[in-house]
Amino acid sequence: MNLLDLLLLIPAAGFFITLLLPRDNPGLVRNFALGLSVVVFVMSLGLIGPVQSNPDAYSFESNAVWIETPHIRYHTGVDGLSLWLVILSTLLTPICILVSWKYIQKRVNEFYAFMLLLLVGVIGVFVSLDLFLFYVFWEVSLVPMYFLVGIWGHDKRIYAAVKFFLYTMAGSVLMLAAIIYLYNKTGSFDLPGIVGLIGDGRLALSPAEGFWLFLAFFFAFAIKVPLFPLHTWLPDAHGEAPTAGSVMLASVMLKLGTYGIVRICLPMFPEAARDNAPWIIGLAIAGIIYGALVAMVQPNMKRLVAYSSVSHLGFVILGVFSFTQAGIDGAVYQMLNHGISTGALFILVGYLYERHHTLEIADYGGVGTVAPWLTTVFMVTTLASVGLPLLNNFVGEFLVLQGAMQVSFGYAFFAAIGVILSVVYMLWMVQRTFYGETPDEVRRHVTDLNGREWAIMLPLIVLMVWMGIGTKSFLPPITANNQKTLEMVLQPSGALNAATTLPAKESVHAR
């Protein structure tokens, strides 16, 4: 049993223990969940060293038989692609537990139990190397989120939870069908195994097979991302979820989709990925602009941030399907950046909600006068979110757009419009919320940050700056791993070395 197995086992055990803890002692439950998640986070840092020294292979690999027939294995491992996503999940879980400290007052045991189960689910997805195991964890992560929204959400929570569940299920059914089809072909669920078979030509999929399998996986992932126009579950789920739910949803769960694309769609169906890149990029860019424009006119803060996610995640998809080193590195980096800065935005919006019990921007104004530090922290997070240099999002957006430019001027041109619009919607919200005269209602309710709230925000702010300047701490394992993925994607169309030379646009998107 290695470190990675423990990272799955401990929160899983924590899930059951939390349910069994006495129900009349919420303080104990909170402290237990927090302590456990902090331990998991600290342990997860142990992944960094080994993965960094060998980023394009799997570290901490476990491979044991789970079920004999059908041949399902417990095969897990972590590499440069999944490393930071795992750590992002383990970092945000204690933060979300701390965020919910005061806010969650009903069914406390269940709430924290579901937070831990969610952690099991998302780590599981990020480290599964067996397609069936991947599917199981995919569904495991869905369940706690359904309840987090449905039980502890706002007024329209049931509608939002059901919509979220049905949307995601629609995709995962297709994914399951594709997984079973592949099993029928190969007799295996093993991800590296199947990729190897396809890579050296021992498993030849007809173009039609490749296309439909790619599409089945891609559809499941695209819903999760969410790629325009499959995004309408997102504003509802975000808008209705409790703060912790919104944070985990935006920061981690959306990344399950983008991660799945890079981990499964690209190496398994390189030809289909290349063939379909143009329309996927088209949708990504449409989503960047569309999400930003719709975010601009939202009267509700949480929905505004939710639509901004549609825009931000469009950049990730664009980067991935540019099939350039810079683009795909930027995409993976942007997954992490979005996790940090949008997570922070949801937390801050949650702070405002806990004080004033409204999410309507129109109910605020002049918060800057009564809560200067809250305003400052919100401002820094906003600046990170709009891609100000020296903060994290800039690096990701820059790399994605650079990659897009290597493929086509038009891609970069239209995607960069999203960078203008992000300023419009974020600063407009900031102005209406924090500037101006302070209404009496706001003056009475809104206070500045307390110690617990500082403890939550400080690590996130530090990461925004660190990831914006010290990219050397994070990027190399991502780059090394993506290089391998890119070679697989670009292999059939000739000897392209994306790392050193420019792939001309003809060869990238050639048939």
Partner: protein, 616 residues
């Protein structure tokens, strides 16, 4: 190593100290931190430049790799050449004077520590901008100064107009940055590097025929960025609104330093622009257009800061005109002299506003000459400098520009001369309205304290004598020798235009104040047009802002999102429920009926597999 990083790091330290602890510090401590950090930075600049000597070639320091991925390899590198040296001295020198002045000006304002923290942060980013050794780091400074501009324009954040102006500045600048960033991406794809040194070397080796298309594209995109930051047509609209910020901010950011970043950036990319004559021509035309347009608007404004704001736009147009005709060193020369006299105009205006307890309307001033004599004196120094009266600083740099323009194309020279006349007119109009005649306001004017008048005095000396700092020759290794063949007829024409402007202003506002009113009535059409700034803001609002906002709300959000997509999703849900209701009748509870369904289903499956040929 000369520790170049200390130059921006010192103001940044000041920002951190005042930003975090400022609320608990007293004013003397805040002043010491804010001014001290900029003073040390200035001294470090002077010391470094002495140590570096003649700077025949660029001196570079590399600190660490910032971003590395694929073709991207960007370092955190600073470099100093003669162009940077000029900018460093202007930024830290004028910045220092304005910091000192602000101690007096802001003494009665709330948020004192916040103001100085932002101001120091601005210095940090501005110094990164001029020290950057590659485009991406320049972009860091570029965005950073934009942020500080936003924060400082919205400094009086209780006022809605201040918040609006700040947001407008940020958004309009982002439109420019959009172009700039595309230029950066395209540069990296074209040259494989973002380092100025590498790009210049590669550009020099390129033959103009093979590269013309893409280089022209890069240059035009860079120009889009520059029009945003340096307030050129069509993106100049944010700068006049930016006067919502405190006056020292208007002087430092929106006159002396930040708005000249576009000029600096184009001069920095001279190697590229030299390969793209079409782009250079566009720069010249935009500069000229901006110079004329803003000058005409400046003729009719009544807010003293607005007059000077349009004057800044107009003078920036002059600088672009210089760049466009290839006279980069003349453009940078004007950046410097303009920093002196325009900072002085704003700070002097601030001193007037300070004396009148916040009054900015020229119609409520007048006769202040005897009440605030020092302010009057320094403002006259600034006015003669900007009006191009020889031998003061503005004359020197404007002369340099106009000569180069004449060599390029005479018609541009004549337009430039007319603009120079208008410049002299509106500046002296402000001076006469403010200081001559009889006082028309209600406040009790008082002269500003020494902490304000001392920087004014220094700037006055620089405005008068700064033209003798021979920037064009100093920059010759970078941009080639300036044209030394001064045609005295041309000089006389441009000086004459300036003097004529002054004379007309004197006639209109001192001798016969009835003339301007009669003119405004007689030419009410054109007068209204320029008084209302050609209605450009209104046009932008109705053509861009409103359609975008209303379209997003009614078409995208309510129409597509809630109507089309969610309609389909909810429709599918309803459909599923009715199918489910239908299917429920099958769950009758009778075993026999279930058996029948199983048999039927199996037959159907087998049939399907047979006809379709199976999955394998």
């Amino acid at each position: 190593m000369h520790q170049l990083w200390l130059i921006p790091a010192l103001p940044f330290a000041g920002f951190l100290v005042n930003g975090i602890f400022g609320r608990r510090l007293g004013k003397p401590a805040i002043n010491a931190v804010a001014i001290g950090s900029v003073l040390l930075s200035f001294l470090w600049v002077v010391k470094t430049l002495f140590a570096l000597g003649p700077l025949e070639s660029a001196y570079t320091e590399s600190y660490f790799t910032w971003i590395q991925s694929g073709i991207v390899n960007v370092g955190f590198d600073f470099a100093v050449d003669r162009l940077t040296a000029v900018m460093l001295l202007v930024v830290t020198g004028v910045g220092l004077l304005i910091h000192i002045y602000a101690v007096g000006y802001m003494s009665h304002e709330g948020g004192y520590y916040r103001f100085f923290a932002y101001l120091n942060l601005f210095m940090f980013f501005m110094l990164i901008l001029v020290l950057a050794a590659n485009f991406l780091l320049l972009f860091v400074g570029w965005e950073g100064v934009g942020l500080c501009s936003y924060l400082l324009i919205g400094f009086y954040f209780l006022k809605k107009s201040a918040g609006d102006a700040g947001k407008k500045a940020f958004v309009v600048n982002r439109i420019g940055d959009f172009g700039f960033s595309l230029a950066i991406f395209l540069t990296l794809v074209t040259f494989g590097s973002l380092d100025f040194g590498a790009i210049n070397a590669k550009a020099a080796a390129m033959s103009p025929e093979t590269s013309a298309g893409v280089i022209t594209g890069i240059c035009l995109l860079l120009l889009v960025g520059a029009t945003g930051k340096s307030a050129q047509v069509p993106l100049y609209v944010w700068l006049p609104d930016a006067m919502e910020g405190p006056t020292p901010v208007s002087a430092l950011i929106h006159a002396a330093t930040m708005v000249t970043a576009g000029v600096y950036m184009i001069a920095r990319s001279a190697a590229l622009f030299n390969l793209a004559p079409i782009a250079l021509e566009v720069v010249a035309v935009i500069g000229l257009l901006t110079a004329v347009l803003a000058a005409t608007i400046g003729l009719a404004q009544n807010d003293i800061k607005k007059v000077f704001a349009y004057s800044t736009v107009s003078q920036l147009g002059y600088m672009f005109l210089a760049l466009g005709v290839g006279a980069y060193s003349a453009g940078i020369f004007h950046v410097m002299t303009h920093a002196f006299f325009k900072a002085l105009l704003f700070l002097g205006a601030g001193s007037v506003i300070h004396a009148l307890e916040g009054e900015q309307d020229l119609r409520h001033m007048g006769g202040l000459r005897s009440k605030i004599p020092v302010t009057f004196l320094v403002l006259v120094c600034a006015a003669v400098a900007i009006a191009g009266v020889p031998p003061f600083s503005g004359f020197k740099s404007k002369d340099e520009i106009l000569l180069a323009v004449h060599a390029h194309s005479p018609w541009m020279f004549w337009v430039g001369v007319v603009t120079a006349g208008m410049t002299a007119f509106y500046v002296f109009r402000a001076i006469f309205l403010c200081f001559f005649g009889s006082y028309r306001g209600k406040a009790h004017p008082h002269e500003s304290p020494l902490v304000m008048t001392l920087p004014l005095g220094v700037l006055a000396l620089l405005s008068l004598g700064g033209g003798y700092i021979d920037v064009p020759h100093y920059l010759a290794p970078l941009f080639g020798q300036p044209n030394t063949d001064h045609d005295m007829t041309l000089v006389a024409i441009s000086v004459g235009a300036g003097l004529a402007g002054i004379f007309l202003a004197w006639l209109f506002y001192v001798v016969k104040p009835a003339i301007p009113e009669a003119l405004a009535k007689g030419l009410s059409g054109p007068y209204k047009l320029i008084y209302n700034k050609y209605y450009v803001d209104e046009v932008y609002d109705s053509l861009v802002v409103h359609p975008l906002r209303d379209g997003s709300r009614s078409v995208l959000w309510r129409g597509i999102d809630a109507g089309l997509i969610d309609g389909a999703v909810n429709g599918a849900g309803t459909l599923a429920r009715s199918i489910g209701a239908g299917l429920r009748t099958m769950q009758s509870g009778y075993i026999r009926r279930y058996a029948a369904w199983v048999v039927l289903g199996s037959i159907g499956l087998v049939a399907a597999v047979t006809f379709l040929g199976g999955a394998r």
